[in-house]
Amino acid sequence: MVGIGFRKDFAEDFLNGNELAPFFIEVAPENWMNVGGFWKKKLKKALEKYPLYTHGLSLSIGSPDPLDFSFLKQVKSFLNETNAQIYSEHLSYSKCDNAHLYDLLPIPFTQEAVKHVAQKIQQAQDFLERKIAIEIVSYYTPIAPEMNELDFVNAVLTEAKCDLLLDVNNIYVNSFNHQYDPYRFIDELNIKNTAYIHMAGHRKVANDLIIDTHGEAIIDPVYDLFEYTMKKLKKDVPVLLERDFNIPELTELQTEMNHLQSIKNNVLNPVRYAVA
């Protein structure tokens, strides 16, 4: 199964045409909950055709601030009303000192943060009565780290007993920006509870820096890392193509989705040749 992020920029063309045929769509609850009128009609139309996966933006699971339960309550209603298959969020913080920043800031890789974040994930999971798939985010600088990224992520996954949203592009971006081997990272990452995969494009802005823009096509090294990841996973995990900016012709997005599906098919159901 390969899905696509449902964007307002192409909602009309997507719903009226047949260039794009995803298995599911993904939205951020924050952009669609408590919304009526024009956009509610569009979402309703989309949900008549496609199952929904969700990817939150504002939960800020990594922030020092406590969880916002009134916000979570609205998310919970939205997930129930839309029969959302998955609720995923970022291993980052986007709110601090009671102020939202609307972007994904990196959590310090510390033991204190592991404990704090794991506890917040568990609280949120208990409240929502479902598992959350937590995504490893792209980050451009560490903040006061006491351990490396891999140990931090593995510790959170173990302590929080949550699912993993494995964004293969983010692993690639981080490995480039922080100079490690992405294959080794996948080898050593606790991928047992991978519930969801993200794939996206990025932009190299300097010789030593890639920014995770979601504004370009997926590049070959990321496809290769995806293939490697699928071989390790050996199970059919839903994959999402993220494209948030610089939207091309929908047929181009479908081509990328087909490519992802064919990599999956080849890994999961390899064609076996009879031995003569």
Partner: protein
């Protein structure tokens, strides 16, 4: 459990840098890379404000706009988890901080409020209504579209380009905004004080035009004009129909 001070303080310092753009060294942080966070965060706020507040953006000089975005983001703690609701907080910030631009543009807060109302009406959750399409224009109680808002302004911000509004334009301006049910578009209707009063009454519950005329103590002379207004309001779906 609260985070131990160091982790929390570092997160707080980093977030503060992203909001203000003023960097003081944080352990482990690569300053050059941190700048990307600052510009990503700032651009999100700037883009959101530009697209939700196009009239205000056009009114201000580039310098005024940049300072406005910066002041708002530095000084105001954004509470909403939903970015589309941000313009409401921008308006709140201007009022509560008695923002300096109100001196140069006395209608500044009203303009922001007007822009927020349009966003809110376009985005807000659906409100159910029950009504019938058939009825007598004078005798049957009219059902107002529940997705409407009645607003009084002291400046003509909905009829004049913001740059042309003068101090002398200060007067009584009434406006109805409503969401057209099929298209979801937000429509604006200028109102006389009498019509504004009538819509206010309809907001409390269905009334017939005859009843509205009696309540507002108007005579036959105004009747024709009022009927004409409500016939148009039915067309534009400001009035949805008649009480069942």
């Amino acid at each position: 459990m609260q985070l131990l001070n160091s982790t929390q303080q570092n997160q707080s310092a980093f977030a503060n840098y992203c909001r203000t753009g003023k960097y003081s060294p944080i352990k482990g942080v690569i300053e050059k890379r941190a700048e990307h966070y600052r510009s990503l965060v700032y651009n999100i706020i700037d883009d959101t404000m530009q697209s939700a507040l196009p009239l205000t953006f056009n009114l201000l000089t580039i310098e005024e706009w940049d300072r406005f975005v910066n002041d708002f983001f530095c000084q105001h703690n954004c509470r909403t988890a939903q970015l589309w609701r941000l313009p409401l907080e921008v308006h709140e910030f201007v009022i509560s901080s008695n923002y300096y631009l109100q001196k140069k543009y006395p209608f500044f807060a009203e303009l922001l409020w007007f822009e927020w109302l349009e966003v809110e009406l376009f985005m807000m959750d659906d409100k159910p209504a029950s009504f019938s399409l058939s009825g007598h224009i004078l005798n049957n109680p009219l059902v107002i579209n529940p997705e409407f808002h009645l607003q009084y302004f002291s400046y003509p911000i909905h009829t004049k380009v913001a740059n042309d509004i003068k101090k002398e334009d200060k007067n009584h301006h009434f406006l109805a905004l409503h969401r057209e049910p099929e298209s979801g578009k937000v429509l604006f209707t200028q109102l006389s004080p009498l019509l504004a009063r009538m819509l206010e009454i309809l907001g409390e519950g269905p009334r017939s035009i005859n009843e509205l005329l009696t309540i507002t103590e108007k005579n036959k002379k105004t009747k024709e004009g009022v009927i004409c207004f409500f016939e148009n309001a039915i067309q534009s779906k400001l009035i949805l129909g008649y009480k069942n």
